[in-house]
Assembly symmetry: C2
Homo-oligomer: 257 residues x 2
């Protein structure tokens, strides 16, 4: 049984303001909740249908996590998804993570004002796939704990460290030997140029690309070549931010072998 | 000025049923409407704010396209976007396109039940970027003319041909020399295997991958390798469908040079 206070509390966590007050966020979806339960995140509460609870009862007991069995009708009242899932968890936000030391030994993604929650979530999932541990976000990047971001990560949020900071300052603080790669139409062909296996991959915002304060920090301009067909000489003007991230990460990792 | 019949008609085109009855679909957004105007699509009507009309009046006159100046308030009544744009067009659906002849001289994408409109739109944009002219969709793939698909193509819908058909039958009809590539966890490493510069790239659905009737048509199983970090031995279980498409297309085109 759900109390109206519980419903109100869950709804409030859809908003950044209340997430920051309570230091909690929501995770929905059978697979996502399972992944969060298995991760170092501290789960505060689980609301789930009877069948799902039966399957996951051992980990809930083992980790000593309070849970409430609810009906599908009750799930409809608290979910933010268009097709409700069998489980919803309230999760504690970890204490503010420390910006990784400027000594970088691998690839790091830096996001300059990514605004679309789906893009941020997808980029986190891409980083997880390619074994990239850290993502640095500019202060205007969409909030990590936005339910749509958490959803789109498909559980990868539990394995990738995401920090927010003043991006130009962070980039300036780096050892100048560290390469900062940014995509530009006039950049060098990523397929044929020399790529350092470590460094920063900078991804610009969906609408305006890499911002002027950040452009000046780029050490290597790269580009993903486009191809035209016999019939159409025109082509897409750009790629979606998460798609471009995927292609760039894939090319860096391919070289690693 | 908008009549209530116009508002009703525009709203009806949000639904597939009415799109099929009227053989019309919606395109919204300044850039998207401009691209559609410049394409071979037949635009039936344009509703736009005064500033946008001023900028685009010459092409509207040149192509003899009826248009209506509306206020921001009126745009709010007809838009399906969360942040309304300055222009909305009603576009004629082209007559049912013919399935490309089985003789294939380049790459073709085949989508096996892609359900998410954002994914289909993004895949069309990727095809356009990489100069892939045709996409073959299974009958259960989301409708091309869904407003969210059109939106996500960012204008690429005007340059890529998308057809729906019985996918297993289409694949069976192909000359057996044509390679059919599908991604599978156990597939060969795409970075190091031999790839034919032409053939079919098969993309499975978001939830269940490539369906059993289609799996048997695959001639070459491929996989995108994942990477793990020193600290996390676990990794994302899969990539988003459009992200996987992007990485595979990029790798095929890279070889083309």
């Amino acid at each position: 049984m759900l109390s109206s206070n519980q419903v109100k509390h869950i709804h409030s966590l859809q908003q950044k303001k209340f997430r920051e007050i309570h230091r909690q966020f929501l995770a929905e979806g059978s697979k996502l909740v399972t992944e969060i339960l298995e991760s170092p995140y501290k789960v505060v509460d689980v609301y789930a249908l009877a069948d799902w609870l039966k399957l996951n009862e051992s980990i809930l007991h083992f980790k000593n996590i309070p849970f409430t069995e609810i009906s599908e009708k009750e799930m409809d009242r608290i979910t933010a998804l268009s097709s409700p899932s069998p489980a919803l968890a309230i999760v504690e936000m970890p204490a503010i993570p420390i910006i990784p030391a400027p000594a970088i030994h691998d690839l790091v993604l830096a996001l300059d004002d990514i605004r679309d929650p789906g893009n941020l979530g997808t980029i986190i999932r891409i980083a997880d796939w390619f074994g990239i541990e850290s993502i640095i976000c500019s202060e205007n990047t969409v909030d990590l704990y936005n339910p749509k971001v958490i959803q789109a990560t498909m559980g990868s949020v539990a394995r990738v460290s995401v920090v927010y900071c003043n991006l130009p300052e962070f980039l300036s603080s780096l050892d100048p030997v560290i390469k900062i790669y940014g995509t530009f139409p006039e950049g060098e062909n990523i397929y044929s140029m020399k790529l350092d296996p470590k460094g920063i991959i900078l991804i610009g915002s969906e609408s305006s690309g890499i911002s002027p304060e950040v452009v000046s920090k780029v050490t290597d301009k790269i580009s993903i070549p486009y191809f035209t067909t016999a019939t159409a000489r025109d082509h897409a003007e750009s790629l979606n931010a998460s798609v471009a991230t995927a292609i760039v990460c894939s090319e860096f990792r391919r070289r690693k072998g």
